[in-house]
């Protein structure tokens, strides 16, 4: 192996945790054993708004095995101030406090926790509880509240509000020769990761708790627990080694964490609380949203005006916000832009970030509208996107640190065979099916967050890297192992990553596609620091072969530190540590956003998504037969796990396009299809060929690793590419997602 050769970064690598997962040895939150464990079962309200008038608990209390029933009448004391309940990613408002009072804010709201010796006893007793309510009027229908929509008075931290208008979008729209104005709706979606939310709270005695929780942020959840229950930080350890998917639902602490800890503290015993699948629909969700997008262009297809007005749902108690319309101001070059984003309050739980929050719905509306404009213009849908390429972020006037979007267009189009596309709708057919090809641009932030890590080189030459990151199925375990292995030229087996534990070095929640860039860079910085220490020790040694070398002259590889120009001149790690009487060398690494650079630059991932659908328009049946997603995401650490991320995003985008829909009975304020049999996500049969392309994109500014992150970009643009393909196939434009059979059958037929 030659000096300087890349060994691990960029190489397709199997998940280091894969074997543990498929053999059942990776423990998830509800699987940790504990002595003398009690089980909690949450009982939810059956009304959407009102007050609890009376609770009849006697039958449940007397049920064999029941230990305690907690309600708003006997819950333990918890923090009083809102700020004590506000987690790292909470939106403005009054965070939900389980069992706080008799007040009901949404259907399924937890109103009692039954704790019993077995899960079955707790659940069975739950069915015996009778609750009388004073019912208030409720509204769960966004349409009915659109007129009352408002601009959120307080901004959610980290979420940019829509940019100020630029130019005169209304006048430019009036004046332009070609224009469209359309309304779109994207239905609420629910995250539904495979693993249900669960917490096993182990009561260790001496006031100490070890909490196994399903969360995307061990430190965020740990901070919530200590703050809500007034515990000392050192007494509470929160572990989330493995997370069976989350998609954003685990960014904020969920009810079961509060309940498990409360019951454990009250009963002085270990307690486990898991949500049921139906209860998974009563936590945060992707908000329901309406969009009006108005676009105007000159006859050459150059955009003259962009207006995007969105209204999205939130709860009565918090102003959940995401960046929905901002994308419309920076995806394409346009001098006249006006964007508005408003909220409307519904009697539901607060929405919650869900994969590409904001972009997944806002970009979908914009990209469908741009497709509609392209037909008005008679300019190809890919061409109009190229014509309006934005070379800088026009919302902020900043430069992109990199933007290989044109390469995404060209490489994606080539792989897809786009040049064979017939420009007219309804022009391609095979058998009974019309064939349509659609395209969309995708865009997502490339964040770098503050993060810390440690690296520990041991006398036996093995390495441990640690940071309180979470791996929600994304591949974090693996890429951190790769980064450590790369830094020290070690085989993967000699590197142990440690994540998923609040006691490890500081990490943000796992979200926003920032983990690889942030925690990865922190790990790399820690590894560099260890190499520096090792070098210092090596140079100090008597007769050191590195005595006259500078750090830049040496390399660490295969458990040796040696001169790059003369690899024979060096020392083994063992020799250095032995001489220094060290068992290990541990150093810290940290990264934080480069604020000076951020004054001038901004960073995003981009993608071009191409979709083929086949539509039996007589029966309304749509099949997505091909998708090509070409993404520009900086350096790709692990093409294998990276590809999986994009595949998952594309599948979820197909679900957004065709399947996912919470069906609410607005009379009852209740989601009626709260199970995976009736809330449809794509099945295997719905997914055919998906090709993922990573275009070459070098970026030395976005993060020390040159990495941008991939968790969200796969979903952005997929639903719009599918919708645009359906139009191309049929000439029928459905502007209400998901595009189900009834909407295709009912849509006006093209003349």
């Amino acid at each position: 192996m030659s000096v300087g050769e890349i060994t691990h970064i960029g190489r397709p690598t199997n998940r280091v945790d894969g074997r543990l997962k498929v053999t059942g040895q990776a423990h998830y939150a509800a699987e940790y054993p504990a002595d003398d464990l009690l089980y909690g079962y949450i009982v939810g309200s059956t009304i959407a708004a009102g007050r609890i008038a009376a609770m009849h608990l006697d039958a449940a209390r007397q049920f064999p095995g029941v230990v305690e029933i907690f309600t708003h009448e006997n819950r333990s004391k918890a923090a009083w101030l809102d700020r004590s309940w506000r987690d790292e990613v909470a939106p403005p408002g009054h965070p939900f406090r389980p069992l706080h009072s008799d007040r009901i804010l949404f259907d399924g709201q937890p109103v009692a926790l039954i704790v019993a010796e077995t899960f079955e006893a707790a659940r069975d007793a739950g069915s015996l509880i009778r609750i009388a309510y004073d019912v208030d009027a409720h509204c769960t229908e966004l349409e009915a509240k659109r007129a009352e929509a408002y601009v959120p008075p307080e901004q959610r931290s980290g979420i940019p509000p829509p940019p100020d208008p630029r130019g005169d979008a209304e006048q430019a729209f009036q004046d332009a020769p070609v224009k469209i104005s359309r309304d779109y709706r994207v239905n609420a979606e629910h995250h539904n990761p495979m693993e249900m939310f669960a917490t096993t709270c182990v009561f260790e005695g001496d006031g100490k708790l070890t909490i196994y929780d399903k969360t995307q942020g061990s430190q965020n959840a740990q901070g919530y627990v200590t703050s809500v229950f007034g515990l000392r930080s050192k007494d509470v350890r929160l572990v989330n080694h493995y997370v069976g998917g989350a998609f954003g639902a685990g960014l904020r602490p969920q009810h079961q964490l509060f309940f498990a800890v409360m019951a454990s503290l009250e009963l002085q015993r270990s307690v486990r609380v898991s949500l049921t699948r139906a209860q998974m629909f009563h936590i945060g969700y992707r908000p329901d949203s309406y969009h009006t997008v108005s676009l105007a262009a000159d006859r050459d297809g150059r955009l003259q005006s962009i207006m995007h007005d969105a209204v999205a749902s939130t709860s009565h108690y918090e102003d959940y916000q995401e960046a929905v319309v901002n994308w419309s101001g920076m995806m394409y070059h346009c001098d006249n832009v006006k964007l508005t984003y408003q909220l409307a309050k519904l009697d539901t739980a607060t929405p919650c970030d869900m994969r590409a929050p904001g972009a997944a719905i806002g970009v979908t509306a914009l990209e469908c509208a741009l497709d509609e404009l392209s037909y008005e213009l008679g300019i190809g849908p890919l061409e109009i996107r190229r014509i309006n390429f934005a070379s800088k972020d026009e919302n902020t006037k900043k430069q992109f640190t990199s933007k290989a979007l044109l390469e995404c267009y060209s490489e994606g189009a080539a792989a897809f065979g786009w040049e064979k596309r017939s420009p007219k709708p309804r022009a391609m057919r095979e058998g009974r099916e019309l064939i349509g090809w659609g395209v969309s641009t995708g865009m997502w932030d490339a964040f770098l967050q503050k993060a810390q890590a440690t690296a520990t080189l041991k006398v036996d030459g093995t390495l441990e890297v640690a940071t309180a990151a979470s791996d929600i199925g994304t591949g974090t375990w693996t890429i951190l192992t790769q980064i450590g292995a790369e830094a020290f030229g070690l085989p993967l087996e000699d590197v142990q990553a440690r994540i998923g534990d609040s006691t490890l070095p500081m990490s943000p929640v796992e979200g926003g596609s920032w983990t690889a860039a942030s925690n990865g860079s922190a790990v790399q910085a820690a590894c560099d620091a260890v190499k520096h220490s090792l070098f210092k020790q090596a140079r100090k040694m008597a007769n050191s072969p590195l005595a006259d070398a500078s750090f830049e002259d040496v390399e660490v590889r295969d458990q040796r530190i040696f001169r790059k120009d003369d690899p024979a001149r060096g020392l083994s790690v063992f020799e250095v540590m032995h001489a220094a009487e060290l068992k290990e060398i541990t150093e810290q690494g940290k990264v934080s956003p480069n604020l000076r650079q951020m004054l001038k630059y901004t960073s995003y991932t981009h993608s071009a998504v191409f979709a083929e659908v086949r539509v039996d328009e007589y029966l309304g049946v749509v099949r997505v037969t091909r998708v090509v997603c070409a993404a520009a995401a900086g350096k790709i650490l692990n093409p294998k796990t990276a590809r999986s991320q994009i595949l998952g995003g594309v599948v979820m985008g197909i679900g957004m396009a065709l399947h996912e829909e919470a069906m609410t009975d607005h009379r009852l304020g209740k989601i009626m299809n709260a199970n995976l049999g009736e809330y449809h996500v794509p099945a295997h049969a719905d997914i055919e060929d998906i090709e993922v392309i990573f275009v070459d994109e070098k970026d030395d500014k976005v993060s020390p690793l040159g990495v941008k992150g991939l968790g969200e970009i796969g979903i952005v643009g997929t639903a719009s590419a599918v919708a645009n393909a359906i139009f191309h196939a049929t000439g029928v434009r459905v502007r209400d997602f998901p595009i189900t059979i009834d909407k295709i059958l009912n849509a006006p037929r093209p003349s």
């Binding site: 069975d124 069915s127 029966l619 299809n673 049999g677 719905d686």
Partner: protein, 337 residues
């Protein structure tokens, strides 16, 4: 889930004795009953686990009919060589339903006994006449895009979820049952019932009766059959509309026709008059459209599901076209020809 008594009898006679109380339920694959118990929708006093009964064989009777033991799994039935060759529409319908995992567990008798499909039936916090007689029907005026367009009543608009039963109805199956009063045979088209004023009753089985087998005469349709299922995703979803269609065609003239619909009513829907009207007609889309209109003459939408009337009409036409052409829908091929 409530507390219940659990019995695992070794003989059919013991099972019948154990089932002879109104709240006793037979447990076979459990793919529906156990769900309903977890949701607290079903609260059986006693579960009679019939899995050890000798009802697991598939036989061809001396008369050439297919006899399916009540405990034959959906998978075994669908992939049985004789079934695939002589009763292919049955095989096809089964494979159109559920998922391989569910079909491995679900049984023929259990498939007949699955409860009708309705969001409200599954949610004990809502009113449902089927779950709690007299409490009202929340689906009427509610979320009802999957609900009945035929044969519904003011008290219930739920639909039967089975695919297998639709094919069985089309094939003139009969259900063999044994009970405290002995054995009887129920024609498949009379096994499930319409809701009327008693939606709590899905079928005509009496207390204590156990399904022992299902008998299906040998059909003579050759390749002129299909099972066409239209749903919200391409697998693992209940039918919005499904059609079992079979034709006996002689030189372009229809000699015999069977048309049964799933996803439209409280029972698999078969219209004997419509079938008769096709006899002697030449195969062709116009005649198929007429018969579809005839079948749907009394169809009534509930709002969300209005589209199902037009969808049913089109699915009937397409299914008859497939049957006439002798090109049955392949359940592994998600493109509909």
């Amino acid at each position: 889930m409530n507390r219940f008594e659990y019995i695992r009898p070794a003989t059919v006679a013991d099972a019948i004795a154990a089932l002879n109380e109104p709240a006793a339920r037979a447990l076979a694959g459990g793919t529906n009953l156990v769900d309903l118990m977890k949701y607290d929708v079903a609260q059986p006093s006693r579960l009679v686990d019939i899995n050890r009964l000798p009802l697991k064989s598939i036989e061809i009777t001396s008369g050439g009919a297919l006899r399916i033991g009540a405990l034959v799994t959906n998978t075994d039935l669908a992939w049985h060589q004789d079934v695939r060759e002589k009763w292919p529409i049955l095989s096809s319908a089964i494979l159109a339903g559920a998922s391989p995992q569910l079909r491995n567990a679900a049984t023929a008798g259990g498939n007949l006994m699955q409860r009708t499909r309705c969001y409200y039936f599954y949610d004990p916090s809502t009113a449902c006449n089927k779950r709690q007689p007299g409490s009202g029907c929340s689906a009427i005026g509610g979320v009802n895009r999957i609900h009945a367009i035929l044969g519904a009543s003011d008290s219930c608009i739920a639909v039967h979820p089975s695919d297998m039963c639709v094919a069985m109805v089309a094939l003139d199956a009969s259900v063999e049952v044994e009970g405290p009063e002995g054995k009887r045979s129920i024609p498949m088209s009379g096994f499930h019932r319409l809701p009327g004023g008693e939606p709590e009753r899905d079928n005509t089985l009496k207390v204590g009766e156990l399904i022992t087998s299902i008998i299906i005469p040998e059909p003579h349709f050759g390749a002129h059959h299909t099972y066409l299922k239209i749903r919200d995703r391409l697998s693992y979803a209940f039918a919005l509309i499904s059609v079992a269609a079979a034709l006996r065609v002689d030189e372009g003239v229809i000699q015999d026709a069977r048309i049964a619909l799933g996803g439209v009513a409280h029972k698999p829907w078969r219209d004997f008059d419509a079938e008769k009207s096709l006899k002697g007609e030449r195969v062709g889309t116009q005649g198929f459209t007429q018969v579809a209109d005839f079948i749907l003459r009394d169809a009534k939408g509930q709002g969300d599901n209005d589209f199902k009337i037009e969808l049913a009409r089109r699915a009937i036409v397409r299914a008859l076209e497939q049957a006439a052409a002798g090109t049955p829908q392949d359940q592994a091929d998600k493109s509909i020809h």
